[in-house]
Symmetry: C2
Subunit: 287 residues, 2 copies
Amino acid sequence: MATFMKIIIILISLLLDSACLVANASDISWRELDRKHTVLMSLPQGKVVIELAPQFSPNHVIQFEKLAKDGFYNSTSFYRVIDGFVAQAGPKDGGEKDKSVTQLKVEDQWSTDETFSFTKVQDNDLFAEQTGFKEGFAIGHSPKENTAWLTHCPGTLAMARQTPADTATSHFYFVIGQAPRYLDRLMTVFGRVVFGMEHIQSIKRTSTIEGELAVNSKEHTKIMSMQLMTDVPKDQQIIIEVENTEDKNFAKMLEARRARENKFFYNKPPPVLDVCQVPVKSRLVTN
Amino acid sequence: MATFMKIIIILISLLLDSACLVANASDISWRELDRKHTVLMSLPQGKVVIELAPQFSPNHVIQFEKLAKDGFYNSTSFYRVIDGFVAQAGPKDGGEKDKSVTQLKVEDQWSTDETFSFTKVQDNDLFAEQTGFKEGFAIGHSPKENTAWLTHCPGTLAMARQTPADTATSHFYFVIGQAPRYLDRLMTVFGRVVFGMEHIQSIKRTSTIEGELAVNSKEHTKIMSMQLMTDVPKDQQIIIEVENTEDKNFAKMLEARRARENKFFYNKPPPVLDVCQVPVKSRLVTN
């Protein structure tokens, strides 16, 4: 067998990890997104689908959906894009449009009790007593403090704010680098990218290093449109299903991933999982 | 003050974190890269500068430098690019070129003793007893096992291999997503991107989800050239200096970052740092 093919096969198995030992594609349980709470964002480089989280951050979702419905974000730009950190967009410079939007009370965590259920990933993670998934979203959980929160993994969508906690309006950001988990329980995460993350990763950076020329605002990546999926003409909708993180096969995949049984792991890694490094699969469904 | 400006200022201070309380740009101690061990990779979307790590992975660096010098990588493609994971390149399908390259003994960790010094970032990180920086590179360290290793943070460059440990040749990958730390001490990391990471992030993905069309290999991102910086005509060299991670001001910045004293942090995050989420600054120097 050609070296190249061997490498391909090994790397595919590495990607799938030991997951392939206990689950194959047909074992995945899929969940259709609620189109009412799904957003289609069109960028010059491609289309992005976002799952919103009304169950966790209801008021932020209501406001974002209203703004999207009103066409508020159409033609706004990503004006603050820092490689390895966030891509942030919003309306222009404190104009009427910007000031017209109501400030939101922060929704950066919620109360839990002993009945709280989720698919656990890890105890004693660096930033949380427990991590896991709840309905597709990566979460942190503190049984001691009886609280849970959406965690800032790559691809999460959160609302920017000013210094006081309850000041978010319409400016939002996507996490595009190593998870800035220190922002958990401080900023309201209210959605996640389920399709087209590579287009988010290619948003034009606006932040330069010392010695580089500044980026002209004309080069900023523009949002061509931001629409609720239900407002998109049927033949242009992108219908996504996502891995059901409450399913037993998802939990099995986690355990296989933790165990790293594949021979590739000649030196066994610690049996731990970073919740932000566990992919939750999506698939495209014909409308 | 306009809302927009306030948000900008807050976000800039958030980015700088509390670092701005103890250190400003002029406090940074810079280190010039050794041009002999610096590589310029030209992609259609822009130029990328890579710092190699001969002090940690000498044989991989010798081989990579020889291949770069020979023009081996010119016109090869990123044939395996998985969003959130890695962008991998190498020569075509087991041809003569591919088979001509010597297999390398893995260099995925090195022995340490009680005299080993580095700038510590964190104890009891999920994947390592200790994490920190050594000469600009993020490392893991185990005093118990007397070993240290370069850790798979976003932007690291490592050599791919087949199942047996000592099989790396010329295929390499950049980490483009949440750090796959489970690959530490398994794969040889031998460099890191110090300029142009956004171009690495925009390499064409080759991996698709169920329901999507496959990506034609003609669309793969091609390496226009991969050269040692010393082989680049002087007027086309990109001269980069990087933050000196052995300097006391870098350690101070880490402590400020851990403390999160800025008022923005109305809810104090745990006083911990993810070594892969700590930026090490670069600057461009006029030749």
